[in-house]
Each structure stands twice: as structure tokens, then as C-alpha cells.
Symmetry: D4
Subunit: 232 residues, 8 copies
């Protein structure tokens, strides 16, 4: 593998509002280190996702030292500055204990992009009182990321109760006809509560990027209104 | 088609507690009429299911006259005597308007077998207050048949709230990834609420038979206890 | 079918920001007319979707007269007041001529909810210059609905170029391995451009509702900021 | 992982008639130990399912000592009191040797909930005399759990012979087109014997819960009749 | 369509023991008539399969007159001489009324090839006594064609009871997870009774050809033994 | 696991012409040893299939010594007497080197049942001259087992060239859209050469049993003819 | 539908070597007529594909008169000049009569683009002598389009015998596990003969375009060599 | 395993223009060594594909020494002479870092067959400017192999921009609905850019063979023209 085989997109941040990140799942250790080297040379903060603890261990000590690594989310930050403060814009809600991995991936991606978040875990519909207790709190967030596997009834129920953007992350929990998350995914896509959108299975990173896009959309409108006002 | 190609199972009632019925969907009009003739000769009441209005129209006038036909459920009764009375043992609950067909198939099958029922329609979870208003009423029924399509969140939510038998009937409502009911079916099978059992897609008839089996099971225990008591 | 079998959710508007709508695809004409009657009694404007021209023809003349019906989108408005004005917040972009149906469903749903839109049709990537000519115009919209079938490369390319919310609507165009839209759907879900969210196949209505949610989220933030300011 | 990420539903027992249990398959050892700690604090007996021998080994010695662990069923009991006595209400029937795992999961779940059972193993239909010898015995049980993989013909044949509730558990035995149990599942769903209901693949736990629900339904009727009598 | 676009394989009979036949399902009326013309010119008896009554009606009167057409099996014979006599070698057994079509296709194909058959209809396992009554009769046939849809338990049960060749024809009866015969097919492929072989869904013609091959195999052995004897 | 959980079918040989065998893939070592013990007690020769070398190693030394084990076919014989002699009745033909495993499973099963065989390996259609050289030899066998993966064109080509019974064994060779043998299986099921029957993927054992059934069928006819002659 | 909703790509010819064509399957009659109008205004010859005879009939008489329409291929030419002459570069080979539709679509597309072709029909491998007779003729063509459904063994066999480019067009012929062409497609993709490439099911048009690309590639090399020579 | 079980096709080179290669994935080490022995005896250069580093390590030292092995592509050359020189005819283009494996397999196969290539890596459409920078360079190649996973938008975009042969290699990168490459494969098959052909998932070897066939086709035309000229 030579340096020329990898070409990062460092302008993504200015174009889209969030920088490039590298999905490490199918990359070799030399490929990941080359990516870190290019990011470091360009002096841009960089996010690694799907970096298994085993693979993380195989990175050189020098990189491991510089990387802010979080095993449950399998994410690593290079050159991260500081977390967001203020009222959280995004709630990350999970149905069960087994959904924690993708939820943490979303939380860490939002943290890396300096978005404040509220984690609300283990409120699945099998004991619906757990959810009902916290509905008002959830509904105050402009963006809700709902993480659920198996039958993924949580996003449907939430979609009927909260007014903001609802982004469903189906997860690969369960067995048999859970089909590694396909049933959860399809249940989200055909949800009887309208206006829910969906990401790939276990894609906490993608849901966080979608949340950033939604917040960016708001910022665009606010800026447009400011321009319009100034023009009056 | 000759008479010998059809052989009905008239002892099923004494063996199982409900008589044989004929699924008309893939049968020809002459086959259906032959079945009615055999049932009539044997003087057993007989239930037809999946008899489309168009096919019903093509039966001879003589049979049409004798058949108690109900178009929305696509069922016909031959030689039916009288409905059940008393406190209903089975609630048939639907999520949306489009689930009415299989729900009526279940209701009619139970009626034919003299089981009293409570229909509770259009209480899907997208507006969960509709369901919450009626949960206590539903929970008083020993057997609940939950009919729902699309993401089929209704049986999951019900399964966490009612103590009796919950039989889910996934329906073929919806489009795209609803996949003619497969998503609803799979969501029911992997429900996060335990102890829900499931029938084939749109199989209101099968759910009714399962309800009859559950009631039969109770009767067996009661009889056994009576025998035990008598033996004391 | 009796009146009790249908129960509409008229408070949805105040709860979610958009009113209930009825998917007519698997409903009978009597069911649709009963729904219109209830909406009319409640004096709420009402949206019908997936109302085929043939089924529309079978509604009573009285209802047909009062309904603002649009055949290509298969939508009908009851009691609609007036369209939105001002700078459009949502661009609806299609890849090819055959994607027009779901795109019009999204446009009409947004119109019904008084959101101004920009339609941009037939800019699929097979002739990428068609898209490149209009990228800057598209990128100025806070929310972009990208409607595409077959390989659905359009949302991926757009996702790398525009900063706002990108909602992909896969469509059932094509044949063979297009699999009635499943390939387009899956391609959107695994898009190499991050932060794209996806709706069910051909679900222009759902994409419009998601756009309304994203705009609602913006309004929530603005209101929160106003409250915070007032509190200073 | 913090304590707040897990929230158990200890009222489930009073609501549904069986307590919460934890599916350990996709949980980490720290998550399982936290669950045991919460259950222990609340002083409720607790059931663990899908706890592989390897994962069981990795629990702390203190928990291992207190846990009544059964490797073939992969279940563990915490704080279990005593087994049921009396005439068994549930027969658990298997088709072949490879179906023993899910059958033992059902038997242990019933034991934990103090239901008496009859295990009847290895009576698949390829040598139908093995089944015929025991049909009368099986038919005396109000509830029959039929565990079978491959073509799952056993529940169909049983469904035509026994009058009580028949709950089919398809298993993931076999290879090739057995498709990890999907063929068995689908065969059960479309069984030609009516009134069979089905659980997810290998879901012995769910079948046991469904059996408990059926017995609970019976109890509800008996209580209702007692109340009615008292009111006379 | 020109004559050159169709090229029949008239030597198949001498090579394989049964002549070429034409599957009419996806052929146009002109294509079918051209095939009949070529067969007629070559003076070979010819078999048409999957010729729907509607398409049969659209053949020219001259061909219709010469064709021995049987609607339920959708087969037509051109130039057929006489039926077989003697002890039947092949039993064609069906599970239910809806399986009659493919069973008749097999029966007619065997008749066309002068093989004597025994039809045994409607002996599915849901009422297993119907099958048990006739097992000895079935087991006396060297070749058994078992035609069954839905869960296709019949071939499995037969496979455990009869010693000769068992050829399963899964059928597309049923609905929902019957999946147009795929569940029946897969159930046959993973049957717990060994040595069953399987044809495509609804392929009565193919099963008949396989039966002819099995009988041909027998003839080869007999001839070989005769040669061996003569050589002594 | 107790002795009562396993019940073998030792009469299968007299009923079907081949004895019971045990599929070891999903059985534990104690289960396999219990099966051997029962077979040994009953003094019947016994066949084990899908016994991986690793699992074979874990059997007790006593059983390993008594077992005639063949690693490539993963089969073991207990109490096997002697091989067949005479002209082979069954040809086992493979397309490629990777198909050898299931082919050897078929060969060993036939050997165990004292049927003489001809192995013909590596004659797939990509270099059709390899097949053409040996077609006449293959065609002299009454029964041909054709073992092929990937596109499984071999059974189709053979089916057009040989007159006897053709039993196709699709194999799980290949990658990507080979889908672990499903493509090979489906290609065999829809083969354009009629009268081919098919077994489950990699099921060399089942194909051998089907061959034994076909030979048994022949024997039944010969015996019937002898009886008829004697009766003259 | 307004004119702005359709935007054709008239520069495609100069860019790619073949002009834009319109797939009419999911287009309305007004959309098709608008496309013809734009093509006519631009004075470019234009190709319509998948234009069913019924839809063709519904075009205005004026367009019908100007269109060179061919029903079996469902193609129409607008403004076509003259056919190619000279030695054919492309052979279009079919397995069976039912594959004629996509084969004619390929032939017409090549004709429209002035490529000379050789049609070779009905040479499937079930009677392999039909193919062997013509192999040498086929092998002389630089590009071979192999059109086959069901098990699609033809492209595999051809791929082992001809040296030029082999483009497989799987077709939707057959029933049951032919799965509308998916089995044929997968069999082509995993063909044991290397270097075969594949198009979508029934995509004769795409195969023709691929053949044009292959011929264009040749032309590019020849031109490059001429330039190189001139530069010497 | 005996020598007779493997039969190589050494005439393939003269017949097709490229020699036989062995797919090592499902072959044992003894089988691979036997293949090398036969190739060595025949003195033909030989290509091994899908030879994992682990399996390579297990070959005998003698073979390892003689083999030119390349781990990332998992290919080995036996008896390879020298690389091609001159202007590259084939560009191998990848979308992302994870697609490098199949791309190197294609590059190595072309190198083995003495075709000059241009590798162009990491130009996927999520940052389309990376692709646009190099389009002119790519378009100068007669044959383009486009290697892409996930949504595989790269081949579609390329197909609209380059005139020569475009061979798409879908890869198994991604997770969830990427379905091990099936989504990429289907997206390529239904690409909106016409004339793209497709190979099996990850099949870099097959794409290289297809490129060789396309170049062979060119050579055939050139030779034909030379013959024609000479004949003048």
C-alpha cells in the first residue's frame, strides 16, 4: 500500500459542516495509520469510527497516545479541542441495553462536532411507562435520534409524540428473524408515525451527521433571515 | 374434477374442538360447490374463508341463498345456528382502518364457533392515547388478538400491558418495505414484549382457531380439576 | 363498516405540526368517504394520499366537487386555504422522468402544509452536467428532498455537495434487479456520502413530513433562543 | 457503562404474571453483573437466558456461586425458590436430538415460573410411529410446545391431533436451505393444521412465556366465574 | 417471428426416453403454432404444457381440433396414440384440493409417455388418518410423486413410510409466508426423511420426467443383466 | 443429557432399505457417543455424517478405534462389513475440485449400503471437452449423481445427454452471488433439461439415499414381475 | 406535466458513441410524446425501448406514423437513417424461444446504431448438439451477446468456447425458482467460465450498448496506434 | 485426495487467450500443491487467486519459494516471465480505500497476462471533485474497470462520462444493508448509465478476464481487416 492509494477530502468541513471521518472496519492497520498521518499533516481534527479495541491495540504506541479512544463506541478522536456547552439540541434515546454501542457512536460523533446532547437510555416500549415518564423531556429537543433493534417500536411511538426531527437508527440486536437488524430497519421505514427518517443498521455516525445537517439547515434559515432583515 | 378428489375431515370438531373449514382462495367454483355438497350431506355446519365477492357471485343461486355471506371478512357460513352470549373471552384489536379485513375474519370465525368477542378498532400506536384509553378494557379479556400491519408496533405495546394470551396477526397493509406483511410479521416475531405468538400474514382465521385452542385448554384444566375433586 | 371502526387523530397538528392524512391505497370507497365526513365534521383541512384516479372517480360527486384533486401525485385536499409564499425552504430534486409521481406527492404535501418549495426535475447523474449546472441553487435550500430510483446515485452525489438536510426518497422505477425500489433504497442507506436519511420507497408524503419536522426543529430553537433572550 | 444506562422493569410480574428476564447474548459481562446487582437489590428472583458457558465463566466467582446455571439451556436462576408440583399443564415435545437446546430453555423458564412440565423428546415424523405411541399422552396437556427444525413437520402433525394450545418453536437445526431456521419458521406459519401459533426461531423462552399467558388466561376466566357466582 | 427462430429437439426421445415438450407459458400463440407445425411435419407426438385455457382458445380452430386438451392440467397432446395398461408404477399423491393442478400435469405427462398411474388425492397430514388408511397402497408403487404446498409435510411423512423413489413437487398454494411455494420447496429440501428429491415449484411435468428416468434406469439394469446372462 | 432424550429408528432399514444415520453437525460429543452406544447395543451397523475432524478427535479413544472414519467426506462407519462388487449402478460426477467433499459423502454412503459406484471428478462445463470425453461412460449408469456448485451447469448439460435418473447435488462452492449454494440449487431446480431432481445444498448423503430408493424401486418392479410370472 | 420536467441529454452521442434513448415502461403517454417532440426539435434520431404495443397504440396517429415500431422487441425508431453493412461484429445467441424478446431488443438497438449483427436462436444446452453445430460460427464474432433464462447454462458453456467479449443477458423466462430471472442472473454472475460480464435481467438494450462500447474501445486503440505511427 | 481428482484445462490459453487459474478459497493445501505440480509438469505459467496469507504460509517451502506472491491481492504467479510495456489499455479505478483488494486482484491478473494498466485509486463520488480531476485521463483508456462498494455510484457516474468499455466490480465493503456487496452489485446492474456490464462481487479476476476478452475482440477485428485487405 502506497501513500497514493489514499486521498482524503479535507475540504468537506467547509462544504458540509462536518469533516471527513474514516470507517476503520475494513481497513488495515497500515491504511489507518496512513490516514492519521495525512490528517496530522493537514492539521485537521479527525474522527475514526468502527475501530475495534483489537485493532486499536495494534496501532503504534505513538498514535495510540495521541488518540482519544472510547471502546464502547469504537471511536477515536485525533486533535479534538473541546466539548460543546449550552442547552442540548439532540436527544439520543435507546430502547434497550444492547443498543448502547450505536448510541454512543452517535453521541461521540456529536461531541466531536461540538453539539451538546442528552442521552436517555433503556426506555423501550415493552414497559411503556419508562418512556412515558420522559416523553416531555425528549420532546423539548429539536432533533431526536431513536436507537432501537428487534421490532424497533420505539421510533414509531416517539414519532407520534414529539414534533422535531426524528432520526431512527435500527440496530442489529436480537436473533432469528431480527435478521441482524433488517427487521428493525424495515419496521422503521414503514412506521405508522409519519416523517421519521432512517439510517443504515447500527449507523450511529450517520445519524449524528444527519442531526448536524438538520442543525445546519436551521442556521441557514437564520442567516438568510438576518440578511433579509439587513436588506430592509 | 370428480368427487373422489376431495375428502373432508368431519371428525375434526370432536378431535380439536372446531370443525373443518375450506380456504377458497385457490379453489375453483366446482371444487367449492362439491365441498358444500359433502358438508350438507354430512349435516355439519361449515365455514368458508377467503371467498371473494366475485367468486361468491359465481356460486349457484341455490348455494348463495343458503350461505350466510359477509363480504368484508370474505367468509360464508353454511348451517350456522346461533351466536354466543355472555362475557366476551376474546378481544380483537386493530391498529388501523386497513386491518379491518383480517380482524373481521377472526371475529366471524369466533362467532361461527360460538365464542363471544369484543371488537376494538383503530387504536394503533402512532396516536398512543387512542390505545391508552382502552387498555384496561382490553386487559380484562383472557385472549387478545392484535391485528396490525406496517411496523406492527401494536402487539409489542399490548404485550407489555396485558396479562392474557396475545396472538398477533400481521397484515399486508402498507407498501414498499412493508413487503406485503413480512415486515409486520418479523416485527411481531422479534417483539421486545415476551410471550406474544404469531400467525401467518392476514390469517384472522388461524388466530381465531388459536384462541379457541386456548379456551379449550382452560376447559381441559377445569374438567381435570373437577375429576380430581370428584375423586377425593 | 360502521362509523366506530374509524377513529381519526385530529390533535396531531397541535402535537406534531402537521395534521393527520389518510393513505387511501388499501381503503375502500366507503371508508374514505367516512374519513372525509369525520374531517368535515371536525372542520379540519384534510389530506388524502395514494388516491388513484380510478378510486377518485368512484367517490360521490359531492365529495369529488369539494376535493382539490391532483392525479399525478394522487393527492386530494379537503378544505385547503392558501399556498405558502416567500423564499422556498425545501428543494425537491428528481433523477428522471419516472420519479415525478413521488416528487409531486412531496410537493403537494408541503403545499398543503404551507411550505414553499422549488421543484428541480430530471438532473440524474448519468449526464452529470445537468446536475452540476444547478448544484449551487440546490445547496441554498436548508432541506433537500432527493427522489431517485434504479441505482439512486443522485442522493449520494448531492450528499457530498450540499450542507443542509438531505432526505432521500428511493423510487420503484426500473425493472429486474431494481426490485421495485429495494436496490435504490439500499443504495441510499449505504450511501458513501454521510448524513443522508431515507424514507420508504415512493414515500414522498413521508419525506415532506420529515422536512416539516426539520423546519419545526428550527422554529423550536429560535423560540428557545427568544425565551432565553427575554430571560436575560 | 454507568448504572443509569440500565433500567429494569420489576413490576412486570404483577402486571403480566412473569418477571423480567435478561437476554444475555449481546450484553457484556459488566452489563450482566449490573443487572444481577439491581435484581438483587430489589430482592426479586431473576432469570438470565442465552448465557453461554464461556460468558458464564467470565462472571465474578461471587455471582457464579449464587447463580443456578444450566449449560444446555444456557439459563441461570438468581434467587429461585422451589419447583412446581402437581399434574403437568405443559408438554414440551421435540422432533430431534438437535432441538434439545431450545426445548430445555422452555422447560427451565417454566420451572422458574413454577409450572409443571412433561418433556417428550425425539418423536419427529420421519419415523412417525415414535410420535403415534405418545400422542394420547401429549393430547392430555392443555398446552403443547412443539420444538422442531428443518421442515418442522412435527407441529403440523400434532396440530391435527391435539385439541389444546399448540405453540411451535422453529429451531435453527439443519444446513443449506434450512436457512438457520427460517424454513422451519415459515413451515410452521403456513401449517395446514389450523390454530398453531409460532415464536421466533429457537425462542424457547418466548414459548414458555406464551404458555404462562395461556394458563393466566384460564385463571382469569375461573376468577371471573367465581366473582359472577358470588354476585348471584 | 420466423421459422428459423425455433429449433426443436426431435431426437430427445431416442436419447432420453421421452420426447421434447413445449412450455407454453411465455410463448406467443404464433410461436406455439409454429412448434405444432414442426412437430406435425416431423410426425412425432408432441406434448404442450402450461397452455392456459385462454391461450388455448386463441389457437386456430384447426389446431384446437387436433389437440387433446385437458384444462385443469393445462396440457395438450398432439398425435397421442393410446394409454398404458398394467400395474401402475407411479402413484401421484396430493395433500389438498388446491394441489390438483400440478398433480394432473404429472398424471397427463405420464399418460402421454404410456406409464400407468394411481392418483391418490387429498391425504394431507392435518388429518393424518386419511393418509394412514392408504399408506400400504402407496408403498407398493416403485415411484411416488408427492404433491403438496404450504408446509409440505406430506413428502416428509411419506418419506419415512415408503421404500421406493419419492419425488416431491412443492406447490404454490397458500398465502403470506407460503411465498408462492418457496416454503413448501425448502421444507421438502430439508426434509427430515432422507432420500427425497425435489423439483421446481408446481413442476408436475418435471416430476413425471424424473419418474420416467427412474423407470428407464430400471430397464437399463434389466437389459444389462440380460446381456450379462447371455454372455455367460 | 439423558439416555431418554435420544430415540433411534432401528427399523428404518427393513422399512426403507437403508438404516438410520446421524447428522453430527449440531450434536454434542456426548450425544454422538450415546447414539453410538445405542447402535452398538442394538448390533446394527451405523453411519455418522458431518462429523468434522475436530469433533472426531474429541470422541473417546475407544469409539475412535472402532469407527472407520474418512475425513474428506466427514463420515464414520460403525460395524461396517464389506463393500459391494459388480458393475457400478451409480456414477458420482463432479464439476470441480471444490465439489469433492459432498461427492465423497455420497460415495461413502453408497459404499456403506453396499452399492458399487464410479467416481468421475472435475468434468465441469467451462472446458466442455473434459465432459464430452466421458459422456458415454456416464450414460451407461442407471443413476447419475451430479455434484456442482457456482452456476451448476453440469447437471443441465448431463440431463440432456444421459437417460437414467439424474440427481443433482448443488454445492456451496464459490463466493458473492453463489450465496453459499443457493444459486447452484436454483439453477438445478429450473434446469432446462427435464426430469432432473435436486437435493439440499451439499447433501451428498441425501443423494445417495435417493439413489438407493431408485434402485429399490427397480427391485420392487423386478420382484413384482417375478410374482406375476409365478402366478401365470 | 410540463416541458420543464423532462430534460434530454443530446450530447450523449458525441460523448459516449450512442445517443440517449427513453425507457418507456414507467412513462405516461404525454411524457413519451414530449420526449419525441424534444428529440424532433433537436433533429437527433431517437430510440424508444419497452414501448408496449398497447402504449404504442395510444400515441397520437402523427407520432405513430413517423415511428418505425417493432412489437416483439418493443422498440421504436424516430428518424432512423440506414442499417449497417459488412461483416457482423456482434452475434446475438439465444437459448430458447422465450428469450426472443430481449434478443430482438439487442438486435434492434445495434441496428439503430449501425452495427451489423448475426442472430443465432434456440441453441440452449439441453440439446447441446444444437449449440455445438454453430460454435465455430459464433466464435468468429468479436462480441457475443448470450441471452438465456432459467438456469442460463448457455453463457457458461459459450464462455469456455469463444475468445471474444461475452455479454450475458439473463432473462425472466421460467417460473417458480426461476424468480423472474434472478436465478439466471446469479448463475451468469458466478459462471465457472471466466470473463463473462452480465447485464440486468431482460436488458437487451444495455447489452447492445456494452457491445457498442467494446467496439468503441477497439476504435480508440486503432486511432491511438495511427496517431503513434504518424508521430514516428 | 488422489491425482485423478484434479484435471486442469491447459488448452484454455490457446482457446480463450488467457490460461486457467485456480481459485484457492475452498481448496485444501494438498489440492493446491497438486495443481501447482500439474502446471509445473506441463510447463505453463499459472495463476493462483484467493490464496490467503495464512494458506500461503502453509504451502511447502519449495512452492513458496517459486511463487511470486502478493498478499493484498491474494494472488500468486508460478513461472511468470515479464510485465507488459507501452500505453496502458486498461484503467482500474476505485471508489475508496476498502476497495483496494479486488482492484489489486484485477491489476495482478492483467499483469500476469501482460496487459499494461493505470491504477487510479480513491476517487469515489462522495467528493466528486476527486473524480472530476481525473475523468479525462480515465476516458482515454479503451477499457475501464470500476471497483466500488456500498452504493457503487462510481460506475454510474463514470458510465455517463467515458466512451469505452466499463466493467463494474461491486465490492463487499460496508455493513448492514450493504449486504456483503449485494447492494453494490444491484446498483451496478440497474445503473442509469447504459452499457455498463458487471461481474460477481469482489471478482477482480473476472473483470480482468473480461478486459482481456474485449482486447482480444479488438485484435480479432484488426486481424480480420488485415485478411480482408490482403485479399483485395
Amino acid at each position: 500500500m502506497t501513500r497514493k492509494e489514499i486521498r482524503l477530502d479535507f475540504e468537506r468541513d467547509s462544504r458540509l459542516g462536518f469533516g471527513e471521518a474514516a470507517l476503520c472496519a475494513q481497513k488495515t492497520v497500515p491504511q489507518i495509520e496512513e490516514i492519521l498521518r495525512q490528517a496530522d499533516d493537514a492539521r485537521v481534527p479527525f474522527l475514526l469510527t468502527r475501530l475495534d479495541p483489537e485493532k486499536h491495540e495494534r496501532l503504534s504506541a505513538a498514535w495510540r497516545e495521541r488518540l482519544d479512544y472510547h471502546p464502547q463506541s469504537r471511536t477515536g478522536f485525533l486533535g479534538f479541542a473541546s466539548a460543546a456547552r449550552g442547552t442540548p439540541d439532540v436527544a439520543v434515546v435507546t430502547a434497550g441495553t444492547s443498543d448502547a454501542g450505536p448510541a454512543h457512536e452517535a453521541l461521540r460523533t456529536l461531541e466531536f462536532n461540538q453539539i451538546a446532547t442528552t442521552p436517555i437510555f433503556d426506555v423501550g416500549v415493552a414497559g411503556i411507562w419508562r418512556l412515558m415518564e420522559r416523553v416531555d423531556e425528549i420532546a423539548r429537543h429539536p432533533v431526536v435520534i431513536a436507537v432501537a433493534g428487534m421490532d424497533a417500536a420505539l421510533p414509531s411511538v416517539l414519532g407520534g409524540l414529539v414534533p422535531g426531527a426524528v432520526i431512527a437508527v435500527p440496530t442489529s440486536t436480537g436473533y432469528g428473524m431480527a435478521r441482524d437488524g433488517e427487521t428493525a430497519l424495515n419496521a422503521c421505514l414503514v412506521s405508522c408515525a409519519p416523517g421519521i427518517t432512517v439510517t443504515n443498521i447500527d449507523n450511529g455516525y450517520g445519524a449524528a451527521c444527519a442531526a448536524i445537517r438538520a442543525l445546519k439547515a436551521m442556521q441557514m434559515i437564520v442567516e438568510r433571515q438576518a440578511v433579509a432583515k439587513a436588506a430592509e
